[in-house]
């Protein structure tokens, strides 16, 4: 298995560089790399003990692949494969597939890193390739949004590096365990970098604009896989080092509520999805032990929603309420939306029940509220008018590649619901249905009043960077008073 891990990790980069030599095989090679990751994830599930690889004798440079990594790798593989299939007929340049497969490889790398420096390299690579994918249409707007993303992520990583060297100074090792016993500023700096990179709470407010402006396949890849690369190390910290768990869970609850509030008042379909991603990343952090399954549920449904919204001629929800869309597009939209809201029979139900069952008492009210809020957010899509009238002109109809990609993702949504059959107990089903109904009723009643405009000023670049210093102070206080005591 050790050899396979090394081969699997190097494969996307090998494929990426060989596409330069074989530009005609771009799509096939990229798809092959994604399928290889899928196979690796399945092999990892069958592995009875976590796999640990130690490099460079005692400096703590290690890889750790366990069940949690397997869930995230599987999500990444499925989302990447779906995005490649979706773009199959769009005539994208080979460069797009090169960056996509490298991004896939670097996201995979973050899921098995167990030391601060490998993680740093992987996260920086994620940042660069994501920037190239966002900026690829070479319009001024996407260029600026990409530049802004790269700026924020690079500054966050500089703070992270400071934390990493302080950990090394204390322990002569870069292993994650070194955060324990380091002076309080080291965990504060590292956590701040990761919160920004992962899109958590106010540090994550770069996320809505970035996902809205990026092209649909890139936005699907970002929401489905890339943003989880920053969240995954936080989960590892929470599971490995108990003293940081309350901090990470508190940020999870805050993010879940903040994202849902933003999503409720948004009117652009893509922005609604992006803000909902912000909230779902919070859900991952709330219950770190069951986050793997939640990541799969969210990645599949959200990627399919982004790909579907990419097929709409119009993104404004008020306009969509007046122009019925084809039923053929409404069905995948509804299926994805229902899974996100936790409908029994779809993968979202199991994920939601597992998370809600393992939250602490103080989180439970907030998380139930966030679940109802999520149902209300997706009611925006589910209750849109639709028509089976086939009079739509031929060129606006979705291409077959869209259907294959949707089938892959939504097939996953239906099939993966069989993984946690023990979640189907009467009280849980009743509870989730009540939350769903409550959210829908709330949406129906409040629809007229949801015209509140939240200030966008917090999403400006200056404020995002300034917010980092505020966050750093808050984190320092939290680490110092909660985790060091």
């Amino acid at each position: 298995m050790t050899t396979w891990t090394v081969v699997w990790m190097a494969l996307p980069f090998l494929v990426g560089f060989s596409v330069y030599l074989l530009p005609y095989g771009d799509r096939l090679l990229a798809l092959g790399a994604a399928l290889a990751s899928m196979a690796y994830a399945i092999a990892l599930f069958l592995q009875p003990v976590p796999l640990e690889l130690q490099f460079l004798d005692s400096f703590g440079v290690t890889l750790l692949a366990d069940n949690l990594s397997a869930w995230f790798i599987l999500t990444n593989a499925l989302v990447t494969a779906a995005v490649i299939i979706y773009c199959w007929e769009q005539g994208k340049p080979a460069f797009f597939y090169i960056q996509l497969v490298m991004l896939h490889g670097s996201v995979n790398a973050t899921f098995i890193c167990a030391d601060l420096i490998s993680l740093y390299v992987a996260l920086e690579l994620v940042g660069i390739t994501t920037f190239l994918l966002i900026a690829l249409p070479r319009q001024d707007q996407t260029m600026w949004i990409g530049l802004r993303y790269l700026f924020i992520s690079n500054v966050a990583m500089l703070f992270y590096l400071m934390g990493a060297v302080l950990v090394y100074q204390t322990h002569q090792s870069f292993a994650f365990e070194g955060l324990r016993g380091s002076p309080a500023e080291a965990p504060a700096l590292v956590l701040m970098g990761l919160l920004t990179k992962g899109g958590i709470f106010v540090s994550g407010l770069w996320l809505p604009v970035t996902n809205t402006a990026a092209e649909s396949p890139v936005a699907a890849m970002m929401s489905g896989a890339v943003e989880k690369a920053g969240v995954f190390p936080l989960l590892r910290f929470a599971l490995m080092l108990n003293e940081f768990e309350p901090i990470i869970q508190l940020f999870g609850v805050g993010t879940a509520l903040l994202g849902v509030t933003y999503a409720l008042v948004a009117t652009d379909a893509k922005r609604v999805l992006a803000c909902s991603t912000l909230s779902q990343l919070g859900w991952l952090l709330v219950a770190p032990a069951v986050a793997g399954f939640y990541a799969l549920a969210h990645g599949l449904a959200k990627a399919s929603l982004f790909l579907t919204v990419g097929q709409f001629p119009e993104r404004d929800i008020t306009t969509l309420r007046q122009q019925p869309m084809p039923t053929a597009l409404w069905l995948p939209l509804t299926l994805g939306g229902l899974s996100m809201s936790g409908m029994p029979g779809l993968v979202g139900f199991g994920a939601k029940v597992l998370t809600l069952d393992s939250v602490l008492p103080w989180q439970s009210i907030a998380m139930n509220g966030a679940a109802a809020g999520t149902a209300a957010v997706y009611a925006k899509f589910i209750f849109l008018p639709h028509t089976s009238d086939a009079s739509a002109p031929r060129e606006v109809r979705p291409k077959p590649s869209y259907w294959v990609a949707s089938l892959l993702l939504l097939g996953g949504v239906v099939l993966a619901s069989a993984v946690h059959l023990e979640a189907y107990t009467w009280p849980d089903v009743a509870k989730v249905l009540a939350l769903l109904g409550g959210g829908w009723v709330a949406y129906g009643v409040l629809r007229q009043f949801l015209t509140l405009r939240l200030p966008v000023v917090l999403e400006d670049m200056d404020h995002l960077i300034g917010g980092m210093s505020v966050m750093l102070v808050v984190l320092f206080w939290m680490v110092w008073s909660w985790s060091m005591a």
């Binding site: 400096f59 420096i117 740093y120 390299v121 920086e124 940042g127 660069i128 920037f131 190239l132 900026a135 070479r138 001024d140 707007q141 260029m143 600026w144 949004i145 990409g146 530049l147 790269l150 700026f151 690079n154 500054v155 500089l158 590096l161 400071m162 060297v165 090394y168 100074q169 002569q172 870069f174 604009v209 809205t212 402006a213 652009d268 922005r271 966008v456 400006d460 670049m461 200056d462 960077i465 300034g466 210093s469």
Partner: protein, 111 residues
């Protein structure tokens, strides 16, 4: 003393990032900040001595720690390639926004 200088460099770079209006100035400020972080790594490496860690016949004791230096080399390369990439992006943006004022750009390109 050296520590204070290093942290001052990082802080000055960070303030530049917040207060400079021009996009090119922001990139330069980011470079100042990353120089500070690199200096911090070098400083940590020189904690127990500043001799080059090469094994010779008579081994002196006060080696500099090679690990942070090796690690920061990676970070320097990454930082420099990100900066090159950003400058290319700024060149592209400068065609339509010759002043490169961040406020104007932000307002103009909000989706």
């Amino acid at each position: 003393m050296l520590h204070a200088c290093v942290y001052a460099t990082i802080l000055l770079g960070f303030f530049g990032l917040i207060f400079k209006e021009n996009l090119v100035m922001k990139i330069i400020a980011m470079d100042v900040m990353s120089t500070g972080v690199i200096a911090l790594f070098v400083l940590v490496a020189a904690r127990e001595g500043i001799r080059t860690p090469i094994v010779t016949v008579m081994t002196p004791r006060n080696f500099a720690d090679p690990v942070p230096q090796a690690v920061i080399l990676t970070a320097i390369v990454i930082g420099f390639s990100i900066q090159a990439l950003m400058l290319v992006g700024v060149m592209k943006l400068a065609r339509d926004n010759p002043t490169l004022e961040i406020r104007e750009i932000e307002k103009g390109y909000r989706p």
